[in-house]
Amino acid sequence: MSERYEIRFSGSGGQGMILAGIIMAEAAAIYGDKNAVQSQSYGPESRGGASKAEVIISHGPIDYPKATAIDCMLAMTQEACTKYHGDIKSGGILLVDSEEVKTVPKGDFKVLSFPIIGTAREELGKTIVANIISLGMIAELTGVVTHEAVEKAVLSRVPPAFLDLNKKALQIGFEKAKMLK
């Protein structure tokens, strides 16, 4: 099981958690040299409700596509944090948005709290790229994919008009996470 690296992106429907999961899987399996499986779970709503995307990364075949012992989890809302933090493994990382998640769960894992959405709003004027900032942060914190791979994956998924914005968001993510480490 230790060959699996498990990441869970969680938040509210519409925050781009599933897209973040897809980009992370592409960074690992298409632009990196690993295997990856991305899966998701969401409610019937197209906006709102707790939503999560999971990415399993490994050097070998990946059988079970869902998380079993999470190495790194992102929570962008209190609801998602409370609902989904239970599977974080001992010694894992929980990254939360500090403005959204006021009640941080206790456990045998490392909690990193950072105003991700606030940074998107203040530094880029667009909260919509909060998921890309968080992707940069997770790439930096975990080292499971390279900066180059995640940048290629982000740029291949966003419309041309938003390339610069997303590139900046990713860079901000890398830098902010460096300070948290």
């Binding site: 099981m1 897809i22 899987a25 592409e26 399996a29 298409i30 295997n35 990856a36 499986v37 991305q38 899966s39 998701q40 779970s41 969401y42 409610g43 019937p44 990946i62 059988d63 079970y64 596509p65 869902k66 079993t68």
Partner: protein, 377 residues
């Protein structure tokens, strides 16, 4: 030649790639979670390939139009999920009796009724077999990975065209929505079967010519004029009350699949050679099972997996053989025991058969299977 590119595809996107690769050029359907991405994908791809895509007024219209597309000579497909699959059943029976090739994809979600649209399930196993009335042949394939959804969709088209019968592709919501790296096969890399066309003159043509086990099917509108009806019919396609012809025809449509079952069956065996306890399962549950088998082996327990990629016709022989050499067969399934009954039927009491069921919209986990297997050792 350019290097083949690996892409991260969703299961439903891989189904579209498989259909296009197999030569599907007609799609009609009605959207329903968790199958909708198939319809969206076909609507983008088909017009660029000279094919036709139609969103119909409902699921019944979807399959009825797809049957028309197939009769006109195009490989055709429709896709749906549980509630829509129920609506399509009348036309599935029609396709079985009229022997129209068709691929029907059912991305299984929680039921019954509207159930749990975004939750996975494997509860249409029996609907696939017995959803339509009357004795009828059923072929259903059950992929377990995203790349396999592509290749099994191609195989479904091949079987449909080869046997002139509807073929179902069954997979659960987890597979439909999950993403894995897929390399799209080059043309010629996978076998693609086309239906037999008549060699006789149009005036000599019979759509159910009794010289054949499976008669060639002429495309409607190609000058070969014939009649198609859901009534029992003669070799020219017109209705009949002749009991001998009715019996022969009913038996023949079953026989054409039954006598070819060995070429339709497809199983994967994982560490079964010395297994004391076997797991029998399909789809995403087979992924949990494989994970569990690896863990069980690490702790010295001789577990193995029998994974059918063809669930109908049921792999009777493989299960019967297995039941002679294991203590127990565990059948995990995301329903309340549909495959377990079939495994019991084939095992005939030669080993223990135990179901492991889950219907809460969550997958059966590797650890559930791990603990169930350990009970038998």
């Amino acid at each position: 030649m350019a290097e083949k590119k690996k892409k991260l595809l969703q299961g439903n996107e891989a189904c579209v790639e498989g259909a296009i690769y197999a030569g599907c050029r007609f799609y009609a359907g009605y959207p329903i979670t968790p199958s909708t991405e198939i319809m969206e994908g076909m609507s983008v791809r088909l017009p660029k390939l000279g094919g036709k895509f139609i969103q119909m007024e409902d699921e019944i219209g979807g399959i009825a139009a797809a049957l028309g597309g197939s009769l006109a000579g195009l490989k055709s497909m429709t896709a749906t999920s549980g509630p829509g699959f129920s609506l399509k059943q009348e036309c599935i029976g029609y396709a079985c009796l009229t022997e129209i090739p068709l691929v029907i994809v059912d991305v299984m979600r929680g039921g019954p009724s509207t159930g749990y649209p975004t939750g996975p399930s494997q509860s249409d196993i029996m609907q696939a077999k017995w959803g339509t009335h009357g004795d009828h042949p059923v072929i259903a394939v059950t992929p377990s990975t995203v790349p396999e959804i592509l290749t099994e969709t191609v195989r479904a088209f091949n079987l449909a065209e080869q046997f002139r019968t509807p073929v179902m592709v069954l997979y659960d919501e987890i597979l439909g929505h999950m993403r894995e790296p897929v390399t799209i096969p080059s043309p010629g890399e996978l076998l693609v079967e086309d239906r037999a066309k008549p060699e006789c003159k149009p005036e000599d043509y019979h759509p159910y010519d009794d010289k054949f086990l499976i008669a060639p099917l002429a495309p409607f509108g190609s000058g070969y004029r014939f009649h198609v009806t859901g009534l029992n019919h003669k070799q020219d396609g017109f209705p009949t009350n002749d009991s001998k012809i009715i019996r022969e025809n009913n038996e023949r449509i079953m026989r054409k699949v039954h006598i070819n079952r060995e070429s339709i069956w497809k199983n994967e065996e994982v560490m079964l050679d010395d297994a004391e306890v076997a797991i029998f399962t399909i789809g995403s549950t087979a992924r949990s099972a494989r994970f569990a088998v690896n863990e069980l082996r690490k702790s010295g327990i001789k577990a193995g997996l029998l994974r059918p990629l063809t669930i109908w016709p049921f792999p009777d022989r493989a299960v019967a053989e297995l039941s002679n050499r294991v203590k127990a067969i565990i059948v995990p399934e995301m329903n309340l025991g549909q495959m377990t009954l079939e495994v019991e039927r084939c095992a005939k009491g030669r080993c223990a058969v135990e179901g492991l069921f889950r219907v809460d919209g969550e997958p059966i986990t590797p650890s559930q299977i791990f603990h169930e297997v350990r009970k038998y050792l």
